[in-house]
């Protein structure tokens, strides 16, 4: 009998922190199954393969591409498009690719403001020649071309057509394993599905829900956590109710409130707004509302780029 043909996998990172790459390794011995059934044809973090090698691959010759990272630069966009062209199945892997994640918070500014801050204002910066990244730069050997840094961070799905999603910062290991199993055994869910769960983090959280009335917003250091009662019932904003579950509420189990990395739940278009609506509905007093000082940082830490408005309107 003919040996079944091995699948071809690719892993790529765009604008990301690298944590998703580690998460791939966190699957431990499962990686052996992967290697047994699939060849990895492209993985910049681990293998020395150039972009031109990918360009040379026939279209749709990669079976599955796991793409982590947001689309911050021209290079990110180029690679997203290239890999879309080469891969049969494109998986948005991790919060950056799915929802923009912390990279997406860059959408509170534009390129100019970010450069100003990063290359001039930060206390640790010395930049006497006022150098900022340019798309073209002349050196002795000729003209260099650098990818453009965009004003707005985009998610992968805002850039190319995406088949599957697996959010999380990084994605929870059990869900990665499930996703790999599904792929390796050819049991793929309908296009557009997520490998996380349909329910929110609250559903998996062991903490006890009580009155559900918020009378005061507190920072975590301001409470004496009893390790049992739901954070919201103790006044600490927890994003669990509005966040896609599947993580097994691991932060909650470590006594840290959910900050929302699973992104919006399936029927919601805007994670932050959904949580704001819920939060305001159970706040007992308008004064509680005033205690929220940083709505974006609190409710949109991972999903600003994938929200309804996507970015801040920056005026000169």
């Amino acid at each position: 009998m003919e040996k079944p043909k091995k699948l071809k996998f690719a892993f790529y990172w765009a604008a990301s922190c690298g944590g998703c790459e580690i998460a791939v390794l966190d699957i431990n011995e499962k990686i052996l199954d992967v290697i047994a059934k699939a060849d990895i044809v492209f993985w910049p973090v681990a293998m020395d393969i150039k972009y031109k090698d990918v360009e040379a691959m026939p279209d749709k010759s990669i079976d599955v591409c796991f793409f982590n990272g947001a689309i911050r630069t021209e290079e990110n966009e180029h690679m997203a498009k290239l890999l879309r062209q080469k891969a049969k199945v494109l998986v948005a892997f991790g919060s950056c690719a799915c929802d923009g994640c912390v990279i997406g918070l860059g959408n509170l500014w534009n390129r100019e403001k970010i450069f100003e801050r990063a290359y001039f204002e930060t206390p640790s910066t010395r930049n006497p020649q006022s150098v900022t990244p340019q798309t073209r730069f002349k050196v002795a050997q000729g003209e260099l071309e650098l990818p453009e840094f965009y004003d707005t961070v985009k998610t992968l799905a805002q850039t190319v057509d995406v088949d599957y999603f697996i959010s999380g910062c990084p994605p929870p290991v059990p869900r990665i394993i499930e996703a790999l199993d599904a792929i390796l055994n050819g049991k793929l869910p309908p296009k557009g599905s997520s490998f996380l769960l349909n329910k929110s983090v609250c559903d998996e959280c062991p903490r006890e829900k009580k009155e559900r009335k918020i009378t005061q917003v507190k920072r975590i250091y301001e409470i004496e956590d009893d390790f049992k009662t739901c954070f919201l019932d103790q006044g600490v904003i927890c994003m669990g109710p509005a966040t896609r579950g599947g993580c097994g509420a691991q932060c909650l189990k470590a006594n840290i409130p959910c900050t929302g990395c699973g992104g919006p739940t399936p029927r919601v278009s805007d994670q932050g707004a959904a949580m704001i609506s819920a939060f305001a509905s159970i706040a007992t007093d308008p004064k509680v509302i005033e205690q929220v000082v940083d709505p974006v940082g609190t409710f949109y830490k991972y999903s600003l780029a994938n929200s309804i408005l996507r970015r801040r309107v920056v005026r000169e």
């Binding site: 509170l108 707005t152 349909n198 329910k199 929110s200 983090v201 609250c202 559903d203 829900k209 009155e211 559900r212 009335k213 669990g240 109710p241 509005a242 579950g245 739940t265 399936p266 029927r267 919601v268 278009s269 805007d270 932050g272 707004a273 959904a274 949580m275 704001i276 609506s277 819920a278 939060f279 305001a280 509905s281 159970i282 706040a283 308008p286 509680v288 509302i289 005033e290 929220v292 940083d294 709505p295 974006v296 409710f299 929200s307 309804i308 408005l309 996507r310 970015r311 801040r312 309107v313 920056v314 005026r315």
Partner: protein
């Protein structure tokens, strides 16, 4: 509290899976009134280009006559399966149209009615071109919504024709009697061994001065006036109505089930005397060796451990005071009882009653004035309360109708009444107990008439005689020599040498300090809620007000209803009342309870919220925000719960929808897709030179204000577009952001007043959402002033027009909003 599976019956009949939407649009020019403003040719032409529109008809009215027939024909003959009607007065026209459509065998929820007169033509009559463009957007929105409408069926819930009345005072007795007369099975539950409540102790009532125990007799068939009205409780015959059960010594311990079908557990303490055997011969009391102070008679005398509290009571059956009786150690009464009625081994029983509704008639009680140190009640025996005085004034009472000093039993010749004791005093009860002025006038008059040489003085802050004939009562008291001193006494002191009380009071009118000597001081104490009110409110799941009385649903519109369907209130349970008012209240509650159950079933359109259990993450927010307690959490798999909506209790407001952080709960009658389709349509055509402003308005006060501004032809610019939702509580911050995304330059949320929200909490909740959304907009670099909430009522049409103008000018000034 969900309806049990299988108990509710669903009428599937007219609900079939809908085929492709064929929308018929019926455009009324309102009898030609708006034909000169709106270009109907253009509207018809436009509608014909809209996808899904299969028929466009124009007429002068579509909610009656030929117009309505045209709709029916279109449904029947042209197979139109979605009906959009542009009419005025949409609420009323909607009723007629949906009824006709239902008769034509189309589900009535596949109809969308909009008001292009009051929401478009009238307010924009000066800019007819712009009005026509806005009308297009409104019609498009209605068509887009109509295409997404789905049939909604009706459900029937059982309604047991049986009522529980809690409290056997004057209100409870009358409500019970009314309902029993109407054929309902009635249970009247009283915690004491005897009926009558506070009223029975009061001897006489003002202003009629008739007996407290006088009530109406049953009237199920036509009888003469003397047969039916003015009968003493014990001979009225109310207790002989076969479908009326009186349960004394009983209290409610548990209520389960749903409105129309409650299961109530009643705990019945033993009386130790068999009600069916006792002939009230009184032999038992003569042998009973135990004597205890008679609390019913203000401890002015003693009674035996086996007793009746006064001769004319219901039930006319003796009772044993379990706290005093020595039971088998003694058992003397058992021996003498000629009918063997005494059963010392009776046990507490638990009965389960199946009732459709409950009436709370638990009344009120006197406040205990001993907490008011300066009046020394409980310390000096000659200071009494009104109820204690009333017992003395009772010819059957402990003093046979004479007024004496409890300290020595000598006649009281100088009596001072002190008003507002514990009332109108922030330290105790801030409210006016409302009946104590009249009680003092009644008692003063009774005393003065019976013993003219008694000196009677009333110390008051204000004499409040607001009822019919009450002021004459006051005048009469003055005429027969009752003295009045305006002033709240500072202290009551006791002179042990003369055994005299001295009331120290400043006469505010004459500006002098008085020391009034008295043999007896009567405190007109506050009237407060019944002792077990809080416990009972919890069992029943209803609310108390700030003063501890049972809270009605709405003082004006639903004075005897509560927020929980099927539970009603009457009498002093809601506030101290005089007998005529308590009576009135009781009859009203009886009618409400009867109306609720009379059909033996409750039929309801399922315009309710539903939870998609696959998405509900058990955050447990919606059960708390639902103003009607319609949501419970049900176990679903090991350690997991999901929200479930009671179809019976849900009012369809959408507050839960506006709360749910995962979109797991939605209204059957306004789905998220329908909201966004309408929003997009309303903002897809501008046609004015001004920036688009979206007003999301509730269907109640908000929409009424918009209607009234149109009806009064107050003008505002046509760039303002209205999206109607049941209650602003359904609004989510997502909607606001989507509106900006879809091209709105400003967003208004128009709802009821925060305290006057038709769905209780919606307006307040959304106010908070709007405030937080403003903070968010700022973070998005969008001026928060582009978003504003307005709380209006019907008569504030002018305020809506102003607000619409103001928002338009405001966003014009801010300049155009460029979103990425």
């Amino acid at each position: 509290m969900t309806a049990k599976k299988g108990l509710s019956k669903r009428s599937k009949g007219k609900v079939k899976k809908m085929e492709e939407a064929k929308v018929g649009v019926f455009l009324s020019d309102c009898g030609g009134q708006i034909a000169k403003i709106l270009d109907f040719e253009a509207l018809t032409g436009f509608l014909k280009t809209v996808n899904g529109v299969a028929l466009v008809a124009r007429g002068s009215e579509f909610w009656r006559g030929q117009g309505l027939q045209a709709i029916v024909d279109a449904v029947k003959e042209k197979k139109i399966n979605r009906v959009v009607v542009a009419e005025n007065i949409p609420k009323i026209s909607e009723i007629a149209i949906t009824k006709a459509v239902e008769e034509a065998e189309l589900n009535p929820h596949l109809v969308e009615v909009l008001d292009i007169k009051d929401h478009c033509a009238w307010p924009h009559k000066d800019t007819p071109k712009e009005a026509t463009e806005k009308a297009k957007a409104m019609l498009l929105a209605a068509v887009e919504k109509a295409k997404l409408l789905e049939p909604i069926e009706k459900t029937e819930f059982p309604a047991v024709k049986s009522v529980l009345v809690i409290g056997g005072g004057i209100a409870g007795i009358q409500a019970a009697e009314d309902l029993a007369d109407m054929g309902f099975q009635v249970y009247l539950v009283e915690k004491e061994p005897f009926l009558g409540g506070l009223a029975a102790k009061a001897v006489r009532f003002f202003p009629t001065d008739d007996c407290a125990i006088c009530i109406q007799s049953p009237t199920s068939d036509l009888k003469t006036v003397t047969q039916t009205s003015r009968k003493c409780v014990y001979r009225s015959g109310f207790s002989e109505i076969p479908n009326l059960n009186v349960l004394t010594n009983s209290k409610i311990v548990k209520v389960e089930g749903a409105p129309g079908n409650f299961k109530v557990t009643v705990e019945r303490k033993p009386r130790y005397v068999n009600e069916k055997k006792c002939v009230a011969c009184d032999l038992c009391t003569s042998v009973c060796p135990v004597e205890v102070p008679d609390e019913y008679n203000a401890k002015l005398k003693t009674r035996k451990a086996i007793y009746v509290n006064k001769p004319l009571v219901y039930p006319p059956v003796y009772a044993i005071d379990a706290k005093a009786c020595k039971f088998h150690e003694c058992a003397k009464c058992v021996e003498v009882c000629p009918t063997k009625a005494i059963e010392l081994d009776q046990k507490t029983e638990h009965l389960t009653l199946n009732v459709g509704s409950v009436i709370v008639a638990t009344g009120f009680r006197e406040y205990d004035p001993s907490v008011i140190k300066e009046y020394h009640y409980g310390e000096y025996p000659d200071i009494v309360t009104h109820l204690e005085l009333a017992r003395m004034l009772d010819a059957f009472g402990p003093t046979n109708g004479t007024v004496v000093r409890p300290s020595d039993g000598k006649p009281a010749k100088r009596i001072v009444f002190v008003q507002c004791v514990g009332s109108r005093d922030r330290r105790w009860n801030p409210y006016c107990s409302s009946i104590c002025c009249m009680i003092s006038l009644k008692h003063a008059t009774l005393i003065k008439s019976a013993f003219p040489d008694t000196d009677v003085t009333i110390c008051y802050i204000d004499i409040r005689t607001t009822g019919r004939e009450h002021e004459y009562y006051y005048e009469r008291a003055r005429e027969i020599g009752v003295k009045f001193v305006k002033g709240r006494p500072a202290e009551i002191v006791h002179d042990p040498a003369t055994n005299t009380l001295v009331v120290e009071v400043e006469d505010e009118l004459l500006r002098r300090l008085l020391e009034l000597e008295a043999d007896l001081v009567v405190l007109a104490t506050a009237m407060v809620s019944s002792e077990n009110a809080r416990e009972l409110a919890e069992i029943l799941g209803i609310e108390l007000d700030q003063d501890g009385f049972f809270k009605e649903y709405n003082a004006k519109l639903r004075p005897t209803e509560t927020k929980r369907r099927g539970i009603f209130l009457c009498g002093g349970a809601t506030f101290p009342k005089d007998a005529p008012t308590a009576s009135l209240h009781a009859h009203s509650a009886a009618v409400k309870a009867a109306k609720f159950l009379m059909n033996g079933k409750i039929v309801k359109d399922l315009k309710v919220a539903v939870v998609n259990e696959d998405y509900c993450g058990d955050c447990e927010f919606c059960p708390v925000t639902c103003p009607y307690g319609a949501i419970t959490l049900e176990p679903k798999g090991e350690g997991h719960f999901v929200a479930r909506v009671s179809e019976l209790l849900c009012e369809g407001c959408g507050v839960c929808v506006g709360t749910c952080p995962v979109g797991a709960i939605e209204l059957r009658h306004l789905k998220p897709s329908q909201i966004s389709a309408q929003m997009k349509a309303l903002l897809s055509i501008n046609g004015t030179s001004k920036p688009l402003v979206l007003a999301i308005s509730c269907s109640e006060c908000g929409n009424a204000a918009i209607d009234s501004s149109g009806m009064a032809m107050m003008s505002y610019p046509a760039n303002v577009r209205v999206l109607r939702v049941p209650c602003t509580g359904i609004v989510q911050v997502q909607h606001i952001l989507e509106a900006f995304k879809a091209g709105a330059q400003g967003v208004m949320v128009v709802g009821c007043k925060p305290d006057g929200c038709h769905y209780e909490v919606g307006s307040q909740k959304t106010h908070k959402k709007v405030e937080l959304a403003k903070t968010l907009l700022k973070a998005y670099g969008i001026e928060p002033e582009r978003l504003e909430m307005f709380n209006l009522v019907y008569i504030e049409g002018d305020k809506f027009a102003e607000a619409a103008k103001m928002m338009t000018e405001r966003v014009e000034k801010l300049g155009s909003l460029q979103l990425a």
